[in-house]
Amino acid sequence: MSSFQADLVALLPRLRRLARALTGSPAAADDLVQDACERALRNQSAFEPGTRFDAWMFRVLRNLWLDSHRRRAARGGVHETIDVAETISGADGAEIVALRLTVRDVERGMLRLPEEQREALALTCIEEFTFAEAAALLGIPPGTVMSRAARGRMALARMLRPAPGGDES
């Protein structure tokens, strides 16, 4: 096993976490991680030693996620992830009421965010990249990451609050 592969194995738990946050589904997340590993191993010469391996690998995973997301959208399934989330909500709705704010609630909430807010939130809140690091990873200005993360965080928090008593502003 090369050091590249050893680094990749060591990064798997974090790759799974990021993929879970992006896809909202454990099974889809693991498929995404597997695809990302395969692509990374094929393209490992593109990694520059001395740079951050986690950022490079996250970018591989994130690009794959966006590709498949856009392919689904092109096939007419623009709201596919949201439909999936709502189906799940109906299926286990009773349990959710009892458990209050569960992991599934948050995952479902994340799925309702526009993808650029979701990835900004996932990288800066969950993976704890700084805004500057996330900006470099995504290839956009830090201010853009911040405004996307801010909108994503506020929207997620609103979704997770108990249903208002009718006085929502």
Binding site: M1, S2, S3, Q5, A6, D7, L8, V9, A10, L12, P13, R14, R16, R17, R20, A21, D30, V33, Q34, C37, E38, L41, R42, Q44, L101, V103, D105, V106, E107, G109, M110, L121, A122, C125, I126, G143, M146, S147, A149, A150, R151, G152, R153, M154, A155, L156, A157, R158, L160, R161
Partner: protein, 221 residues
């Protein structure tokens, strides 16, 4: 006071310089709408962090470990183990027990020359830190050998089974810890579980192991 999302975000995350932070804190006192936005920013962050906090400690499925270790085409990755991955691999052990079918022999890159040398010899220390812990025959008669590899930063336990074209790695468990890998007694429990699924019996006695070795590890019948 008009405060942008970006500034409020930095405030909530404790990243604003002190003077600016104090100004925002003062504005929050008299501006309920601003206070509400700050509360939402903090709630959204905390919810996302809490929801995914446990994901890191979940065992990683074996097929993902195999995918990450698959030798890239054209690369010779048999040079040997690097220690980098071992520390974190300890948490992966539970998933690894399910590595019954490493696809297409992709795990075989892990069978280094010194492990292969040990697999072809009698049980006992062979040198290079590889110890064959026991030899087992599966239901189908296939010979499998459990082994451990000691590394300074941890070690691994593995199970290799003899196929027509050579040894195939069937399962591997990595362990972190100082002082090298110490098998408590006999076979690692996870390797034991894989042996059970293969329908393998207890370790063969020395004379049967010798006979299997003389047959080139082929089935007895």
């Amino acid at each position: 006071m008009s405060v942008t999302d970006e500034t409020l975000l930095l405030f909530v995350d404790g990243l604003l310089p002190e003077a600016e932070a104090e100004a925002i804190a003062a504005a929050l006192e008299s501006d309920p709408a601003l206070a509400e936005r700050a509360a939402l920013l903090a709630e959204g962050r905390d919810a996302a962090q809490r929801a995914f906090a446990d994901t890191l400690s979940e065992p990683v499925p074996a097929h993902l470990v195999a995918a990450a270790m698959a030798p890239a085409a054209g690369n010779d990755n048999r040079a040997g183990w690097r220690r980098t991955g071992f520390g974190l691999l300890a948490g992966v052990a539970a998933g690894f027990a399910l590595a019954l079918a490493l696809p297409g022999g992709e795990g075989d890159g892990m069978l280094t020359p010194r492990i292969l040398a040990a697999l072809d010899s009698r049980a006992g220390t062979v040198g290079g830190g590889v110890i064959v812990a026991g030899t087992h025959a599966t239901e189908a008669g296939t010979i499998c050998r459990a082994f451990t590899v000691a590394e300074r930063a941890g070690g691994m336990a593995g199970l290799a089974c003899r196929e027509e074209d050579g040894w195939r790695l069937r399962a591997a468990v990595a362990r972190a810890g100082g002082g090298g890998y110490q098998p408590a007694s006999g076979v690692d429990p996870l390797i034991g579980e894989v042996l059970e699924r293969l329908g393998a019996g207890p370790a063969l006695p020395p004379e049967q192991e010798d006979a299997a070795r003389r047959r080139g590890w082929t089935p007895a019948h």
